[in-house]
Symmetry: C2
Subunit: 643 residues, 2 copies
């Protein structure tokens, strides 16, 4: 199955069009400005000397690379001469400062020239990977191949040093990324050597100890504890992990490597069934930004980095090509509407690094006696810039290329994975998706007159027991009216007529997809059940015992103290009977107002414990998780005390 690229997709008005507009008009410039201020662009001049400010950091190359990739995805759809010129300037500097042997890395040229390829922990190959992804994107967007050539020269050096000569001080990347970039480059150039190098890094990983004894972390942190084909669970640093699994899936697909595919399926199951937050967030611990043990899903201590959720979508999108299984699309949907989108503020200009499911300001300052040893709780406030600034340009490139996740196709079927308003060119014909999803469950899918084949529509987990699919007979109806000279003066009558003339169909469902035969121009109306639902966590999830969350369609909801007062854990909800839906002008969201109860102080008499308790009926306002913390610092929780 082939994914259909965002290049063949035109996003139409709707939820994601709005996000792309903010991304292209605000975020891309905001990130650029922060990178200018912090010296990240200037670093490409290679002019830093000891004693100067703004010393280049080992991962600055990758920050700019992701920004360039974002620019490429934006200008693919609409010209932006100012951004393109800025990229060209960077590429000029890259050309000027590339070493004679092809080497290109700012930190290890300017700051530690003798340490090239000596420290596995220093993101050298990770930067090369991101620069490669940027070069490919920029080439596709503009036809300009200068950056691509620079990167190919550098990668030839990497290929020689790591694969052919095996002469570096380490053997596989400390922070994976280059593997997936090399497969992209292979697909872009058709040159086998890049796939060979990607496969080499994957074959070599975990074959010998590469973490110094007594180092701060173990080989598991780097996914180097086992050969890749024996890695059956998700382990270690979660971004590193999912970039690796993405690369593994890419290589498995290209090489038909069954052992590698099996490892990918197993790792995915481990994440899906044991290590993923309701929001699609992953990485349960701030210690090592890492996966921990099954069912360990702390909320206020969650790490759930924006980049990790993005990396999980990359992984799931590759898995989607291996096997038809709606779980992959479900995970992508969870992440894009929740754990990724929460990473950027509604105005597009400030960011979260961590996206925990609860903010408790009382917890943050708890170690008052030992303030230098504060525990690593996430901060309930968004930042315009941060030192480790991997997330802002990552979410920028992600939103700009959201079209990548909508469809894929094989010989005679087009799979619709994500319901995003768009027109898409497929081999079988053009498709139009029109919807106000996720705030409306109705999705209209039209095919053009040339379309022959099947449509396979993902039925999300949340709606699998309550969806309807209709074949809309607009044209037949119109033709009938015309033939019989009937004029319709009322819109509601017209709608009724259309309804009466549409046919509810019950297509075959396989692996979570509804298969519908299409012959020429057709209109299909899929209605998903996006009514609010209570969700519970598996009894093995200690953190969520006695708790309930509320979702509506793919959206996870949360309560904020700005709406519900302090002390959110004192609120208890039962069933959602009697909820109402309310449009929120300032957030641009549909909120849920539900009946709740608040544990009162009455029985406690100012003390800590009581033999009785009293609840007071109240209303609770829930907003979509992606919109949290947009009204100043406040407490927030996804999981609420349950009846």
């Amino acid at each position: 199955m082939n994914n259909i690229s965002f290049r063949d997709v035109t996003i139409l008005d709707g939820f994601w069009k709005d996000r792309q507009k903010t991304n292209a008009e605000k975020t891309i410039y905001s990130v650029r400005d922060r990178f200018e201020e912090t010296g990240r662009f200037d670093a490409f001049r290679f002019e830093w000397k000891e004693g100067m400010e703004k010393k280049p950091h080992i991962f600055w190359d990758s920050d700019i690379a992701k920004w360039i990739e974002s620019v490429a995805y934006i200008i693919e759809k609409e010209p932006r001469p100012d951004l393109e010129q800025k990229v060209d300037e960077v590429v000029e500097l890259m050309e000027k400062n590339q070493r004679d042997d092809g080497y290109f890395n700012i930190y290890f040229t300017v700051c530690e020239p003798d340490k090239r390829f000596s420290n596995r922990d220093c993101h050298e190959l990770y930067c090369a990977g991101h620069l490669t992804e940027a070069a490919i994107a920029y080439y596709y967007a503009t036809g300009k191949d200068k950056m691509l050539k620079i990167m190919c020269r550098y990668l030839d050096l990497i290929d020689r040093v790591f694969r052919i000569e095996d002469s570096a001080a380490f053997h596989t990347p400390g922070h994976e990324e280059i593997e997936l970039a090399l497969v992209k480059l292979y697909r872009c150039t058709g040159e086998q050597k890049w796939l060979t190098l990607a496969k080499y890094f994957i074959d070599r990983r975990g074959m010998q100890e590469e973490v110094p004894e007594a180092f701060w972390c173990s080989s598991r942190y780097y996914q180097s504890h086992l050969p890749c084909r024996e890695q059956l669970t998700a382990e270690g640093h979660s971004v590193r992990a999912c970039y690796l699994y993405t690369g593994m899936a890419d290589v498995a697909l290209e090489c038909g490597d069954e052992a590698l595919k099996n490892a990918c399926f197993s790792v995915f199951d481990d994440i899906y069934n044991k290590k993923m937050y309701l929001t699609g967030g992953i990485g349960q611990s701030a210690v090592g930004e890492a996966f921990t043990v099954p069912y360990d899903l702390p909320n206020s201590r969650a790490y759930t980095e924006t980049c990790a959720a993005i990396a999980l979508v990359y992984f799931a999108s590759r898995m989607q090509k291996m096997r038809v299984d709606s779980r992959f699309g479900d995970v992508i949907e969870k992440a894009i509407f929740n754990g990724i989108l929460s990473g950027v503020s509604l105005d597009g200009e400030s960011f979260f690094y961590k996206n925990p499911l609860e903010f408790l300001h009382a917890e943050r300052g708890r170690n008052v006696g030992v303030p230098k040893h504060q525990e690593p709780f996430p901060e309930a406030v968004r930042q315009r810039v941060f030192g480790c600034s991997c997330c802002p340009p990552n979410i920028t490139r992600f939103i700009a290329s959201i079209g990548d996740y909508i469809l894929s196709e094989d010989k005679n079927t087009v799979y619709i994975h994500q319901y995003i308003s768009s027109t898409v060119k497929t081999s079988l014909g053009e498709i139009k998706i029109a919807t106000d999803y996720p705030y409306d469950g109705k999705i209209e899918i039209s095919t053009d007159s040339s379309f022959t084949g099947k449509l396979a529509l993902r039925i999300p987990e949340f709606s699998k027991n309550s969806y309807t699919i209709k074949r809309l007979k607009h044209e037949e109806t119109a033709r009938y009216l015309k033939d019989n000279s009937i004029e319709i003066h009322s819109l509601s009558l017209a709608k009724q007529l259309l309804e009466d003339n549409s046919e509810t169909i019950t297509p075959v469902i396989e692996n979570g997809y509804a298969y519908i035969d299409i012959d020429k121009a057709s209109k299909i109306e899929l209605t998903l059940d996006i009514s609010p639902k209570t969700v519970y966590a598996n009894p093995l999830v200690n953190e969520d015992a006695g708790k309930v969350a509320v979702t509506a369609g793919p959206l996870v909801y949360c309560a904020e103290s700005v709406d519900n007062g302090e002390n959110l854990r004192a609120l208890k909800i039962g069933s959602l009977s009697g909820f109402s839906r309310e449009y929120d002008e300032s957030l641009g969201t549909y909120n849920i107002i539900a009946d709740a109860q608040r544990l009162t102080q009455d029985a406690f008499n100012g003390g800590l414990y009581a033999y009785a308790r009293q609840y007071m009926p109240c209303k609770i306002k829930l907003i979509p998780f992606y919109a949290c913390i947009n009204r100043g610092e406040c407490d927030m929780t996804v999981w609420l005390t349950s009846d």
Copy 2:
């Protein structure tokens, strides 16, 4: 009001007699043997040299001191020549190795002789305090004053260096303890100078910065952030804190210092209303072993050191002398039956340092990717010995002197604070308390024929709405039967007759005490409601939202996985209707069997989240918290998911 010393108390058969027996026959020897093995006794030879094993540690003096104090309390009641001889040997070594100027500290004589009185963080004055307490106890128990004289010489030096010359590198103890010891010494010897020095340390504390900048902790950790009289909240290292507050209360009482008294009341309220676990445990964070912020009471991450609960009892017992208020006795009772007693195994030979309200084995190993950075979770297994071995000899001395907490008296009233089977000599006459409390709510209190005055009986918080007090008329009944030549052949008839002839009285209740006038020999029967009750935490306690605990009388109960299967958080309880009580031969406890429900896996289909949930009715077995983790490593929880 004066406390009546354990010296005037004879513990009779019952709950605490059993504990004292284990303590005197097992624990005291077990601690001695561990201290022998680790070189703590040998350290008193002052023969350690660089390169040798078993280097003396800065707090070893205090470990042995507490062991000596324990021995003194035991031999006060029954001779133990072997233990007494061991103490005499230590005292001989102390005499031999005391420096000419009176200085006595093993570490700073043997290991760092040039560093005497230079490092506030090194427990020098703390060790002096504990040795002083031991010397006083040993003097009372045996009449031998050699150790007392050694300590007075040392304290004269401390008085000169710290108070008179102010020539040490610091001004107040880094780990408080000596303050309370000095007041004890003042009371023992009548010498004013010891009270003066105690008051000096308290007056001086917090008057200037004594923590080096960039040190690992702040002055708040050491209770040095404010002058003592301005310290209105409990802060920093919890054992240090409560030893200080005890000393403050002692000085306030002796000096009639109202500002100091007010600070003590305020600090006590802060602990009682905002920072104390249901078990009487304190110290919410392993980071700094410290008090944190109000209402922050994590369960599985609780620190709740045994020594901290003991220190809280010391503090509360001093407060009890300042003001009649049953809260002080309530706190002492909570701690002695729960958070202190849990610190020693039922066999008396292994210990907890931390006494958290929940053990979750899954949490302990969560940072698998970064195993060197494990979070400081308590271990669900008791240790026979540990490096920082302050708790084992502390609990030993505490149990041996439990009689200290039973009564106090003023001019014409004897206050009964704790219901422990015993006979007690008071100024107003002898009192006998007979009870199977805490497993029976019936407490019979008899006064002898010389007794004239009032009895004030503490009505514990848990029973304040449901207790009965009767005046038993055994003697009148017996006289009547005799006078009328009535013979009673049936025990039940006799009981009924006694019941009929006893008079339910409704004494005045003031500040939680029931005041009863006594004229000569009387028998009073107090019946407390020890039926199991559900308890809830204040809505501001985030950690316990939606949770319930079960107590019965003063005992806090808990569920263990060895009885209830893994995954204790999946158990949910509602009301306790239909519970039963069951004697447990192996633990020697009365357990509670109650109806519960278990969240099943049924709705989850192997996954993490579901839109429905199912519970299965089941029984839950609850054991007293003090008996937890006596059957191997297992999960345990006090707080259960609530209906």
